[in-house]
């Protein structure tokens, strides 16, 4: 199922990109270029060939694991993607993990004391967090910690390989922003899942058997309530890796989303095609891993 999906994705992206008005060569050469120069560069890049030929050539190269070279700067697309992927992954993984560590217990607590003041507060807080646009929250944090207090750098990035601590300082604000948003999403999810589990018979049984409440929660409710949350975490990871472009724009981080958006603006066909193929692959793989790990968290699935 993975290969046909990717093939379909590749073909769709290829066609869509060529439907878009605009020409990478014009963008690159600007208004001083003459007709002869434009034609020369188009030929050198192979853009003058018929579209089916271009697609076949691209496909043949992709099959060998070569995503081609960027039209804009000649760098290897795969190299670019992997380099940018590190930045995006660092942000997304840390943020989602941290958010899950905070959100799952909160959701459990709210479900356990459903209807109490604590529940209301948690639900209200989570709903507010879900309702804040991430880029706005990012801008506000930037304004406060970057400009007013001057604690953290406002924009920019240094690769981890160059200066680890400095690289970290650039990532703190985006990570904090994402953690706050994700806490909202995951708390609501785990609360809803826990409520459902708490209603089930075996929880009543466990309680009737006289097990201490903490044991009921940790041994019976948490593992079962975590299963749907775990699926959502998987979806979120896949979504965020591509969809983080907006946050990367706010914090001017050289992530994968930025690479894609810049590629679209420059009509850098190989970059756009490579990025989207890569994102689709990651999405599929992440969901596969999530599915495979599902039985670990949900005893009911193993039983079937």
């Amino acid at each position: 199922m993975v290969v046909p999906t990717l093939l379909l994705v590749g073909a769709t992206v290829f066609v869509l990109m060529r439907l878009v008005p605009g020409d990478p060569v014009l963008v690159m050469l600007g208004d001083t270029a003459g007709e002869a120069e434009i034609a020369d560069l188009r030929a050198a890049l192979g853009l003058d060939r018929p579209l089916p030929v271009q697609f076949a050539l691209w496909l043949a190269r992709v099959a060998r694991g070569d995503l081609g070279a960027s039209i804009t700067n000649g760098q290897s697309v795969l190299g670019l993607i992997l380099e940018r992927f590190q930045v995006s992954t660092a942000i997304v993984l840390v943020a989602v993990a941290a958010a899950a560590l905070i959100a799952v217990p909160l959701g459990l607590l709210a479900a356990w004391r459903q209807g109490s003041a604590a529940d209301l507060a948690i639900v209200a807080g989570a709903t507010v967090l879900v309702s804040v646009p991430s880029f706005w929250l990012g801008l506000l944090l930037l304004l406060l910690f970057g400009l007013k207090l001057g604690w953290l750098p406002v924009v920019g990035f240094v690769p981890f390989s160059e200066n680890f601590a400095a690289a970290l300082s650039f990532l703190i604000l985006p990570i904090v922003t994402l953690i706050m948003i994700e806490i909202g999403v995951l708390t609501r999810m785990s609360r809803a899942a826990a409520i459902e589990v708490l209603r089930l018979d075996y929880v009543t049984h466990a309680r009737a058997k006289g097990l201490p409440e903490s044991r009921v929660l940790l041994r019976h409710v948490l593992p079962n309530a975590f299963a749907p949350t775990w699926t959502l975490i998987g979806l979120t990871l896949g979504n965020l890796l591509g969809g983080i472009a907006v946050l990367e724009t706010v914090f001017t981080l050289p992530g994968l989303g930025r690479l894609l958006v810049d590629g679209i603006f420059a009509r850098d066909y190989p970059v756009v095609q490579g990025c989207l193929l890569f994102i689709a692959l990651i999405y599929v793989v992440v969901n596969l891993i999530v599915d495979l790990m599902y039985p670990l968290f949900d005893p009911r699935v193993t039983a079937e």
């Binding site: 878009v20 008005p21 605009g22 020409d23 990478p24 014009l26 963008v27 690159m28 050469l29 600007g30 208004d31 001083t32 003459g34 007709e35 002869a36 120069e37 020369d40 804009t72 700067n73 000649g74 760098q75 993990a97 941290a98 560590l101 905070i102 604690w151 953290l152 750098p153 406002v154 924009v155 920019g156 990035f157 200066n163 601590a165 400095a166 970290l168 300082s169 703190i172 990570i175 904090v176 953690i179 001017t252 050289p254 810049d262 603006f265 420059a266 009509r267």
Partner: protein, 517 residues
């Protein structure tokens, strides 16, 4: 909760580290918004490439500050009576980066390489008869004399040789290429030589100690070019805001291409100095004269009269530029008094013209983009001002690539646009004048104007050229194929310890004559 503590620790650590930025002497560090494309002058290039490479290589002639052409490697240039023979006398004691002396043989070798199609020199078409001139022979009577013979005279020959996008037609040592003719690295005569190029990250240039600088003061791309710093590092920082942050934190010394919206903020900082220079790029509103509605010159003129152009320019450029109605840049020696004539706002006259033309409030669409704030701002203001005269303009904001596509196809009614610098006045008019049938991107297709323009390209008499351009300007104001706004300002910001940096009309940053104290 554990995560919370980790974040706290990280916050503190980062705050501590942020203060202790690496401060080792790195020479002069300058931001580039993208990596260069190659080091081969005028071959695989863009504006960044030209800017970097022209620190290392030099041509026979180069542009001065006022866009006139002066000798660089040449000591003198003599043009024959018939305008077809150019004799260059080379300067004495000029050496290449590898120590070899510059001779007329090197000039002939370099030009033979440029004129070979396989080299893919950008300006080959200008010299093989398709463009400015046809080069028919190069002779080297002695080691310091080179003679260029052309088929017919052209006013554009020296200016084309000097063009930065032609790599300044730089003279190279033959070891710049391998035995197979493939490009290796530039061995030129410039004040800097090639250092390490880390692709996608930085390019380092090292001072060339036996450089033979001219004795006059620095003047454009010629004059005295002396490297004052040991090394220059161009750092690739794609994001403008990141570039600004790097300058403020001291990670770079010079930042060019500052947006005018950042001007006020940077001015307020004591550790930063600013340099504002007029450039030869032209911000303008293009009008499609083939459009059924805009084919009527009265409507075009009404638009020009509806705009308060000085106020518009003042607002868009944040006061760094002034209204220039002419296609010729203010800083050019050809920008004579008649070129100061422009449009003055007259709403009553604009309404009258619209009524005469039978305009009934049809919507006119104006294209703009958000990539270049100046084009967008100009469009918004023009729209609001035109409204006051009863002209209904609707903005269509495209992404830059789409707008460029529409520009190339001539598919628009109005467009807020910006031309990059043309250093010769003929080219300033040529960029928007031409036959629409074969070049749809041209806005001004007028037989009389095109004849004048052609004459300006072959006449070498400066006074006659001046007269032609004055006539063209008057004609352009009458016909309103476009409404010129202003020549952009190149704003550079630098750390306070940097001295000697100066922007100039061509716009390329120059790092010779610049020091860090």
């Amino acid at each position: 909760m554990r995560a919370g503590r980790i974040i706290c620790i990280a916050l503190v650590a980062a705050a501590a580290l942020g203060a202790a930025a690496p401060a080792e002497a790195q020479g002069l560090r300058v931001r580039l918004n993208a990596d260069i494309r190659s080091t081969d002058p005028g071959v695989n290039r863009d504006a960044n490439t030209d800017a970097v490479v022209l620190h290392m290589v030099e041509g026979l002639v180069a542009f001065r500050e006022d866009a006139s052409v002066g000798p660089l490697l040449a000591e003198s240039m003599v043009v024959s009576e018939d305008g077809r023979t150019y004799t260059f006398r080379l300067r004495e004691n000029v050496r290449f980066h590898n120590g070899a002396p510059l001779t007329s043989e090197d000039v002939a070798w370099t030009w033979r390489r440029y004129m070979t199609p396989e080299t893919r020199w950008r300006c080959l078409t200008e010299f093989d008869g398709r463009g400015a001139a046809k080069l028919i022979g190069i002779e080297t009577p002695d080691a310091r004399t080179v003679v260029f013979r052309f088929e017919s005279p052209s006013a554009l020959i020296p200016a084309t040789m000097a063009r930065p996008d032609c790599g300044g037609s730089a003279i190279l040592h033959r070891d710049s290429v391998g035995p197979d003719g493939a490009w290796l690295a530039p061995i030129g005569t410039g004040p800097f030589r090639m250092g390490e190029w880390r692709r996608g990250q930085s390019i380092e240039l090292i001072r060339f100690d036996s450089s033979a600088a001219r004795s006059e003061p620095r003047d454009g791309f010629t004059g005295g070019k002396r490297a004052e710093v040991e090394r220059v590092r161009f750092l690739v920082i794609p994001d403008q805001a990141a570039g600004k942050a790097a300058l403020l934190s001291g990670a770079i010394d010079v930042l060019t291409d500052i947006a005018s919206s950042d001007l006020a903020e940077l001015k307020a900082r004591p550790e930063i100095r600013l340099d504002v220079a007029a450039t030869m790029g032209l911000n303008t509103l293009l009008i499609q004269t083939k459009d059924p509605l805009l084919a009527d010159v009265r409507i075009r003129r009404a638009l020009a009269l509806a705009l308060d152009l000085p106020a518009l320019v003042q607002a868009v450029s944040e006061g760094t530029a002034r209204y220039n109605a002419s296609a010729i840049p203010v800083s050019s020696a050809f920008h004579t008094a008649p070129h100061a004539q422009g449009y003055t706002r007259d709403l009553a006259a604009a309404r009258r013209l619209l009524a005469e033309a039978g305009y009934r409030g049809q919507t006119i669409r104006m294209l703009a983009n958000r990539r270049y704030a100046s084009m967008f701002d100009a469009a918004v203001l023009a729209q609001a001002m035109a409204q006051e005269a009863g002209l209904r303009i609707e903005l269509e904001v495209l992404d830059w690539a789409t707008q460029l596509d529409r520009y190339t196809r001539g598919d628009y009614q109005l467009m807020s646009f910006s031309y990059s610098a043309r250093l010769d006045p003929s080219l300033s008019y040529e960029m928007f004048s031409g036959p629409k049938a074969t070049q749809p991107r041209k806005v001004w297709d007028n037989a009389e104007a095109l004849a004048l323009l052609r004459e300006s390209m072959v006449t070498t008499d400066t006074a006659r050229r001046r007269a032609i351009f004055e006539a063209l300007h008057r004609k352009m104001l009458d016909e309103v194929p476009l409404i010129n706004l202003y020549n952009g300002a190149e704003i550079a910001a630098m750390r306070a310890n940097v001295s000697g940096y100066q922007g100039w009309p061509a716009g390329h940053p120059r790092l010779w004559g610049v020091r860090v104290d």
